[in-house]
């Protein structure tokens, strides 16, 4: 089904199942420990060997000698694979750096060997006996140093390809110079780790030249293709499965070393091998969100009209890597006649930077939305009024492109009322509650919607059971549930008459889970397949498909009505289709919006910040399931608190690695950090997006939260911190005097 014109009325509009709160249908499996995660396919693989990954001990250089004598002789060891004996390996299309290093070492903890043994403990013990000598080389580990000579990065356009190094509209420099009120400020965000609960894990089993891999991956087709490319075998020989994923946040968008080394280890051992990447290896072995150094300049007239806006972001990555696209939101969020947008990309020998939840948007909004707060203060305006004043309903670069839906102003106004924004004292450092300095902050939330082709197969089986098969993944987001709701709505059956099967490369290729594009596109693909199945049902029953209604387990046409199940009496009906997109996404800017409100307390003595309450008001198209959508948003808000107040991969620029590479050193929020959270979804159905009229919320919920926290901290203390995370040491000595 090609989606080329705005959606008209369709069965989803009934909203009898879609749009209703529904607990996750996979919830009982998860709460009873019976949902098999990547490491837990005990039924399929009863007697695996265990692989343990050895990470490089240096940040840059080469292995000068390997001695496996002791490791091979250790109890239980079956095989050891290194680059020396792995055979020729390719590199995945989505990987910047090789997943098995050696002899050249590209970054710290790059995998250099897998030790396979009868038990996990034996593999771990033997791994420590692998003797590696290194020749260290000079590495580029300091972003600030590297940025001094870093070139402009091509492509500040959406998804980062090919546009000019500097995007200009009008004459920024002149307009900024002439502006009566201006801001010129620098902001920084640190490297961050996804820190998902489930580590990267895979089980690999060969049968002849055919390989099956159970893994934990967000994008089946990408991982499937890249595993074939890496191993140099046809992808038809590989079955790649990821039915349950214990969190990904972008870290599992791509093939990673656990899958490759499980496959190589299993081949060498001649039996199935399971690998879970040990936690201390994860931050340096896998990808991370790159640090940014951002420069924002805004000029405005005295009435608060932005006349000039410039945003530059510098980040670093491995050779051949990509910039962190922190400037993209600035292109679209606010009006302003004169604009300058650019990025710089330095080459670093730190681990590979890549997507983490709201890549680009999250750090970009962390900076931009502080800048807007600062500018509002300079203008003597309320930060909400300033944002509303500079709202735009069109793409400022291409004014002929309208936003399909843009309810930013309503989000801000509605949120202000609900949050009690009028009680905020615009003068900072005025409100005390015992030892706490109390402040409120606001920020816009803004994340674009991305159209992705997405396929599904739908079966109507005996007893009227509807089975959906798609390679879509559920990374804890609720995919199983919203897909069941979609099929139930389309086929006129209850949710419990739908079976959803996900995460298998034998199923039609879906959008996958990433970029908050999963929910809307994957359900649209299911919609498309269901349209075909409805036609097949009507045809088999001899109904006129144009006026056939599917409702209450029945199929009706004119005055004829029969049980849906009857259509499968003569054998299962199968339909497959995918949603594909025309140019609507170019004609219109498809985006999601919101407003984040945060109240914090800052300890007047110690400078510690604790969030007191949070509110997000979101407008993001049709909300397919308010319960799972809310979970997405509160999870994102929590991640935003982490980014604002504590998360930072600390770089040792001498040895070239992230030092705090475990969950004790890399702090993410705990329950005690997260107080009352409220989420409101405004009514919206975006007919330019897809037949579901839905967009996404999973990343919207993160965009802007960090800045709302930062702005609240400023309102509490009067000290502006522009360097995340806002830890106490960054404002301690500038806090108001203790009384």
């Amino acid at each position: 089904m090609k989606f080329e014109t705005p959606a008209g009325d369709n069965p989803i509009d009934r909203m009898t199942v879609v749009g209703r709160a529904h607990a996750r249908i996979d919830g009982p499996l998860k709460t009873t420990g019976t949902a098999p995660y990547a490491y837990e396919h005990h039924r399929e693989i009863a007697d695996p060997a265990y692989g343990y990954v050895v990470g490089a001990a240096i940040g840059k250089g080469r292995i000068s000698a390997i001695d496996l004598t002791q490791a091979k002789a250790a109890p239980g060891v079956i095989a050891i694979v290194t680059a020396d004996n792995a055979g020729k390996l390719g590199k995945g299309k989505f990987n910047t750096v090789k997943l098995l290093g050696g002899p050249e070492i590209d970054h710290y903890h790059q995998a250099v060997a897998i030790v396979v043994a009868e038990t996990f403990e034996q593999a771990r013990a033997a791994a420590a006996l692998v003797r590696l000598d290194y020749a260290r080389a000079e590495g580029r580990f300091d972003l600030d140093t590297a940025l001094k000579t870093a070139p402009l990065a091509g492509g500040s356009s959406d998804e980062g390809s090919g546009s000019p190094g500097v995007d200009r509209v009008g004459q920024f420099e002149q307009a900024f110079a002439a502006a009566p009120v201006k801001l010129d400020a620098h902001y920084s965000t640190p490297d961050q780790s996804h820190a998902m609960m489930e580590p990267f894990a895979s089980i690999a089993a060969w049968r002849g030249d055919e390989l099956t891999v159970w893994t934990s991956n967000q994008m089946i087709a990408w991982g499937h293709g890249d595993l074939a490319r890496t191993l140099g075998i046809p992808k038809e020989k590989i079955r790649f499965l990821s039915p349950y994923v214990g969190g990904g946040f972008g870290g599992k968008l791509f093939l990673r070393t656990d899958a490759v080394l499980a496959a190589l280890g299993a081949r060498a051992a001649g039996r199935p091998v399971k690998v879970a990447l040990q936690r201390p290896l994860i931050p340096n072995n896998t990808t991370h969100r790159p640090a940014t150094r951002q420069h924002i300049r805004i000029g405005a007239t005295k009435d608060g009209t932005i006349t000039a806006i410039a945003h530059d972001s510098g980040s670093g990555d491995q050779p051949g890597g990509e910039p962190e696209t922190a400037v993209n939101q600035t292109k679209l969020l606010y009006a302003g006649a004169n604009r300058r947008i650019s990025m710089h990309l330095a080459v670093l020998d730190l681990p590979e930077g890549n997507a983490m939840r709201a890549p680009g948007e999250a750090p970009g909004m962390m900076a931009l939305e502080i800048a807007i707060d600062e500018m509002a203060e300079k203008l003597g305006m309320d930060p909400i009024a300033f944002r509303i004043k500079n709202d735009t309903q069109v793409d400022p670069e291409k004014p002929e492109r309208r936003f399909s839906e843009r309810q930013l102003v309503r989000c801000l106004e509605d949120g202000a009322k609900r949050f009690g924004w009028s009680r905020r004292n615009p003068k900072p450092a005025q409100v005390r509650d015992g030892r706490w300095l109390v402040g409120m902050g606001v920020a816009a939330a803004f994340r674009n919607h991305i159209n992705m082709a997405s396929g599904a197969r739908v079966r109507l089986g005996q007893g009227g059971v509807v089975t959906v098969e798609t390679d879509m993944t559920d990374i804890g987001t609720g995919s199983y549930t919203i897909i069941a709701q979609t099929a139930a709505e389309m086929m006129g059956v209850p949710v419990d008459a739908v079976v959803v099967k996900l995460g298998d490369s034998r199923f039609p290729v879906s959008a996958g889970s990433g970029g908050q594009f999963g929910a809307a596109n994957a359900t649209a693909g299911v919609y498309a397949a269901c349209v075909k199945l409805r036609e097949a049902v009507a045809q088999r029953l001899g109904f006129n498909s144009a006026d056939t209604v599917f409702e209450g387990g029945k199929v009706r046409s004119g005055n004829r009505s029969t049980d849906l199940a009857q259509a499968a009496n003569a054998g299962e009906l199968v339909a497959e289709d995918k949603i594909e997109f025309g140019k609507l996404g170019d004609t219109y800017q498809l985006s999601t919006f919101g407003a984040h409100f945060v109240e914090v307390g800052v300890d007047a003595f110690t400078g510690v910040t604790r969030v007191r309450r949070m509110l997000a008001v979101c407008a993001a198209g049709r909300i397919l399931n308010p319960q799972t959508a809310r979970s997405q948003v509160i999870g994102a808000m929590t991640m935003g608190v982490g980014g604002a107040l504590m998360e930072e991969l600390a770089v040792d620029t001498r040895f070239g690695f992230f030092v705090n590479h475990d969950l004790a050193g890399y702090e993410v929020p705990v329950h005690a950090d997260i107080p009352h959270q409220e989420v409101v979804f405004l009514d919206e159905a975006d007919d330019k997006a897809n037949p579901m009229k839905a967009k996404g919320v999973g990343e919207l919920g993160l965009c802007g939260v960090g800045a709302a926290v930062a702005n609240a901290v400023y309102n509490a203390t009067g000290v502006r911190v522009r360097d995340y995370p806002i830890t106490l040491d960054k404002h301690l000595e500038r806090l108001p005097a203790l009384v």
């Binding site: 420590a128 600390a650 203790l738």
Partner: protein, 318 residues
Amino acid sequence: MKAFTYERAHDPVAAARAVAARPGARFIAGGTNLLDLMKIEVETPVHLVDVQDLKLDRIEPTDAGGLRIGALVTNTDLAADARVRRDYGVLTRAIVAGASGQLRNKATTAGNLLQRTRCAYFYDTNMPCNKRKPGSGCAAIGGVSRQLAVIGSSDKCIATHPSDMAVAMRVLDATVETVNAAGETRAIPIADFHRLPGDTPHIETALAPGELITAVTLPKPIGGRHVYEKVRDRASYAFALVSVAAVIQPDGTGRVALGGVAHKPWRDAAAEAELPRGARAVTAKLLAGAKPTHDNAFKLPLAERTLAAAMAEVRTTA
């Protein structure tokens, strides 16, 4: 993890004897720290002597009017003990400020005192660390050191002791009771129990090889207001950047020990005497001679402000 042998001891002297007899042997109780370190081969004991059957899990009154806390009393039980809560509130507060409920259920009193540092370089066996591998150097000096020591450190080591409980024990003038393989007992004042790193950061306590902690005793209660202020980036389940254990008397005198600043709980009688003159006077003396790094210089003003918070807490709840 390296393969090791294991035995379960049934009386303290036999346990001490078992460890003394085997170089590289270690006691294990709750294992909340040792097992983690063994998994990454920071600790590589060849033999473990499990002491959990030694029946050292009682809290009893002493003749001197204090309490004897068995070495195996869990952190949870110690914090919850009615006598501790009534008479040694700073200890309860310090314990519940540390770790998580699950860990406190396993962690023991003696084990808590013997925790290793949480310095990230100590944890990474690819990095030089004089504490883990004597003579290899200290990667933390000149590295990422925000969490690390500001005082009492050496050019060999800038690690901190991570315990909250030990800071309260220090302010309460606890005594560590031990027994050795010969059956000889010893009482070590907590002030002398933990060592500064000096040239031998791998030697962390006054314990001789094979010497087993049997109990920690508290002198009779000293009254006063008991406060434990712990500062950390997140609200729970994090080690202290700085902590303050304080017992303040109605006349403004009292005792203060700092955590998170040194290789041991940090206390000084002369500094304490300044309490009536306020936090600044105390920390100026207590932290005189501090040698912070670029990353952790903030701990000096933070210590003063945290002590001020503790003192304000006492004033406002008096």
